[in-house]
């Protein structure tokens, strides 16, 4: 279980590097699919089977297909590099690494040695019970959100706007 987490965590990090370093959007999208699938394996290892399946079906299946479709529809080629300032080029990456390194160090130190609860409360049945009892109102509100999103997408994609 532990080696699997490190293997798929490393795959996720490498593929995420591929997302941000590749200049062709299609390659970025395919790398993002690899990230999503390896994160689904990590979810499985953490006992979230339902979300692992949802991750593959909804994220890697539906959302990323939408992305790839739009990339092909708009014929997105290699991006043109912009003229960045010299300061941003030399200072940007070290500052970003320093910031997130410090963030990761603080998180690492603060949460080391936590003990997990022995009986994880997981499974689709438990999720369904909580979702339709405690979170019934937010669940109904998401249906309105999706309706608004559908209407917005239809209106925005019309010919003249």
């Amino acid at each position: 279980m532990l080696p699997l987490f490190y293997i798929f965590g490393a795959v996720a990090i490498l593929a995420a590097l591929g997302v941000i370093l590749q200049e062709t959007p299609v390659y970025s999208a395919l790398s993002l699919i690899v990230v999503l699938c390896s994160l689904a394996v990590v979810y499985l290892l953490l006992g979230a089977e339902f979300l692992a399946v949802i991750q593959v079906i909804v994220y890697a299946g539906a959302i990323m297909v939408l992305f790839v479709l739009v990339i092909m529809l708009l014929n997105a080629r290699r991006e043109t590099t912009s003229d960045r300032s010299r300061m941003a080029r030399w200072l940007g990456a070290p500052l970003l690494v320093a910031f997130f390194g410090q963030f990761a160090y603080a998180v690492w130190k603060h949460f080391s040695g936590w003990e997990a609860v022995h009986t994880p409360a997981t499974g689709p049945q438990k999720i369904g019970e909580v979702l339709f009892r405690s979170y019934a109102l937010p669940f109904e509100l998401t249906s309105i959100l999706i309706l608004v999103a559908i209407l917005g997408a239809v209106v925005l994609a019309k010919k003249e706007i």
Binding site: I63, V130, I146, A149
Partner: protein, 102 residues
Amino acid sequence: MALVPLNHILALSVILFGLGAAGFIIRRNIITIFMCIELMLNAVNLAFIGFSRYLGDVDGQIFVFFVIVVAAAEAAVGLAIIIAVERNRKTLAIDEMNSMKL
């Protein structure tokens, strides 16, 4: 069956979030920037699931469920906006979309 330590899960989450934020800044293509947002959302989902496992509470997974729903809605609307912008300006480069006027 040894469980993954919580700080390792959160470190992976922070690294993925940092890569997403870096990509958001360095990329110049609007679709790639949008994908970096999805990457950051996934990093946060991972932290939610890690805490859910460690606290033995299913609420974290419910939150991830809602985040995925919002991400789907956001992708639909965002990609529609990208198509509309591309139709009006004939470009996907973010540097050429520096004004709000159409």
